[in-house]
């Protein structure tokens, strides 16, 4: 029976992490993100959401426990290999200030592919065409050569979606991406994100429980995190 289930995209086991030796920020016995599912992770501000995302994306490593991402045990990888895994297989969307200020919209979208040939290789068409296709899909095609500073917050967040999904990474992590948007824009954002996911696993983190209905499963960081209880 267990053999029929595909391996989870992310699996944390007995993870303990602390910035200082005294008090752990995170203590998670088990967290599983099934591959291809859209997971909503709810947690109030300061509950360690960003720390958890840093662990999953391989920026931080736990003092104890295992973090398996897309079949790779991160604790066994060198920092360089973790960076490569993040760049080639994970798309990341921040809450705000997602973009490199000195690059154009098109350059911001294509930047993961410039640094990671593996991600570039997953695109069949020329990179420019793929950027244009995504931009059109996200209604950004009029701004491709514009400096990102001229965009509205909503447009900037759409550029962030395009950058996260270009080259079809298997895991998309979104860290409070809608908190700077009003309600209408927020729903548009979620719809667009859904449309461009192409079967990738999504981990969407927010403090706003009203969004939970858009997702396949909902987890609460407070109940997962032993250190917060």
């Amino acid at each position: 029976m267990t053999e029929a289930v595909p391996p989870p995209a992310v699996e944390l086991t007995d993870v303990r992490f602390s910035y200082t030796s005294s008090k752990p920020i995170l203590s998670i016995e088990s967290l599983i993100l099934p591959a291809g599912l859209r997971t909503f992770l709810h947690g109030p501000s300061g509950s360690g959401k960003t720390t958890l995302l840093s662990l999953i994306s391989g920026i931080l490593t736990p003092q104890q426990g295992g973090v398996q991402v897309l079949g790779q045990q991160l604790t066994k990888l060198s920092p360089g290999k973790r960076d490569t895994l993040r760049g080639s297989s994970i798309g990341y969307i921040f809450q705000t200030f997602n973009l490199i200020p000195y690059l154009t919209v098109a350059e911001n979208i294509s930047i993961p592919c410039r640094f990671h040939p593996e991600r570039r290789a997953r695109i069949a068409s020329p990179l420019g065409e793929e950027v244009a296709r995504l931009a059109k899909r996200l209604d950004l095609d009029a701004h491709l050569d514009a400096p990102v500073t001229r965009l509205s917050t909503g447009q900037q967040q759409r550029v962030a979606i395009a950058r996260a999904v270009i080259g079809s990474p298997a895991l998309i992590i979104a860290d409070e991406p809608t908190s700077s948007l009003d309600t209408d824009r927020r729903d548009d954002f979620l719809t667009l994100l859904d449309e461009v996911l192409q079967g990738a696993t999504l981990l969407f983190v927010s403090h706003d429980l009203s969004l939970a209905s858009h997702f396949d499963q909902t987890l609460s960081l407070r109940s997962l995190n032993g250190a917060a209880q």
Partner: protein
């Protein structure tokens, strides 16, 4: 390659800050290289003051005072040498030519040199350049005077003007030779050497000025001044003479023979060596100037460091985004090192280019006004060394903000605010 692209885009986005930093480095490099090039020009001009002269001979004394008095016309000679001694060596079989020099009079602070036709024929400077007359002819007659180019220009003298020379080499002389005015018969072409600042008369002309004098003083008031009889004039002593040997090999033999000349104690110097000795004394000033310019360069580089370091905090978000798209921490480090190196590279290139453009544009002015042969000064290993040192220093200084960025990337992770 992608990091380089990123570094260039980042610098271009901060155009004002980048240009100001580039400008400050360009100015510092300009100063450093400019001082160095002018130093080379000064050295070339200095050592080119006299050339193709194998020996300078004067009364027994130091080599430097002899060089200073006979070539630069600075200071007085320790003693004179007898006309017979001069004649002995002038007719020596190893000697090709000689230029007698007699100094001791002046015109408004400019030295008056008594010499003969050999001076116009054999004096050479800066390699093989000989003297030529811009106007008129060289001094032949008793009261003829030929002017250096600078004097003619500064005093507004022209051919046919009569001038009164003063006794002694001080600018404010109390004795002048009002009885024996000289007529300007020639003006020498510009040489950018001390020749431009001297006046040339004949040896007998000098004797004529001092006719009736005894022991260096003129006839007292009331004392009968003998009437000048040119046929009775004769040269008894000169101050020094320059000498060209028939072959370079014989120079050392000649020098030895002169230094051990029995009838009169003499000193001979090889001008090139003594010039070198003099230059090494003057070089201290140059070293001080170079140190000041180097200090300015350090300030320029520090300005770059400050500009890059203060931007570091504003760039924490950017670093977090770059980390999120998979840049390694060392690539963040590299990005910042490349930025500082690139700023220094543009600054250095602009600075060096500006120096050469300025020197090229101003070469005629500098040569005319300061006598520095700019045209002879090309690129030198020292300039390349300065360029390399600037780039390496910039790269090393760039490590400081780079390390800051690297540390931020590790501390902040994806959590920069």
């Amino acid at each position: 390659m992608t990091i380089l692209w990123l570094a260039l885009r980042s610098l271009r986005a901060r155009t004002l800050a980048t240009s100001l930093t580039v400008f400050s480095i360009a100015l510092s490099v300009m100063l450093l290289v400019g001082v160095d090039r002018l130093r080379s020009a000064t050295q070339a001009g200095f050592s080119g003051t006299i050339s193709h002269t194998d020996l300078i001979v004067g009364a027994r004394g130091g080599g430097l005072p002899l060089l200073l008095s006979s070539v630069f016309h600075i200071g007085a000679a320790s003693n004179n040498i007898k006309w017979e001694s001069y004649q002995h060596f002038a007719h020596h079989r190893a000697v090709a030519w000689t230029i007698p020099i007699s100094i001791g009079d002046s015109y408004r602070g400019f030295p008056v040199i008594a010499t003969d036709d050999n001076f116009y024929q054999h004096y050479q400077f800066r390699g093989g350049h000989g003297l030529s007359l811009a106007e008129g002819h060289q001094s032949h007659e008793l009261f003829d005077v030929t002017l250096g180019a600078t004097i003619a220009k500064q005093r507004g003298l022209k051919l046919g003007d009569k001038i009164v020379l003063a006794h002694g080499i001080e600018e404010k002389s109390i004795l002048d030779h009002a009885n024996t005015p000289f007529t300007v018969v020639g003006i020498l072409a510009q040489t950018a050497t001390p020749v431009d600042r001297s006046l040339y008369i004949t040896l007998l002309g000098e004797e004529a000025m001092h006719f009736g004098w005894s022991g260096g003083t003129p006839p007292a008031i009331g004392e009968e001044v003998p009437k000048l009889d040119p046929s009775k004039l004769q040269v008894d002593e000169i101050t020094s003479f320059m000498l060209g040997a028939k072959s370079r090999v014989s120079t050392l033999y000649l020098q030895r023979e002169i230094d051990t000349y029995k009838p009169e104690p003499l000193t001979s110097i090889i001008p090139a060596y003594t010039l070198q000795e003099l230059w090494s004394l003057l070089d201290y000033a140059d070293t001080a100037l170079s140190l000041v310019s180097a200090a300015v360069l350090v300030v320029g580089l520090l300005a770059m460091l400050i500009a890059l370091y203060t931007a570091l905090n504003e760039r924490r978000r950017e670093i977090a985004v770059l980390r999120a798209v998979g840049l390694h921490a060392y690539q963040i480090f590299l990005l910042f090192v490349l930025e500082s190196t690139f700023i220094a590279a543009i600054g250095t290139t602009l600075g060096i280019a500006a120096v050469y453009a300025l020197l090229f544009a101003l070469r005629t002015t500098i040569e005319t006004h300061f006598g520095l042969p700019i045209a002879q000064v090309g690129l030198s290993p020292r300039v390349e060394l300065y360029a390399a040192a600037t780039l390496i220093s910039a790269a090393i200084l760039g490590l400081i903000p780079a390390f800051g960025a690297y540390r931020n990337s590790l501390v902040d992770g994806l959590n920069a605010r």
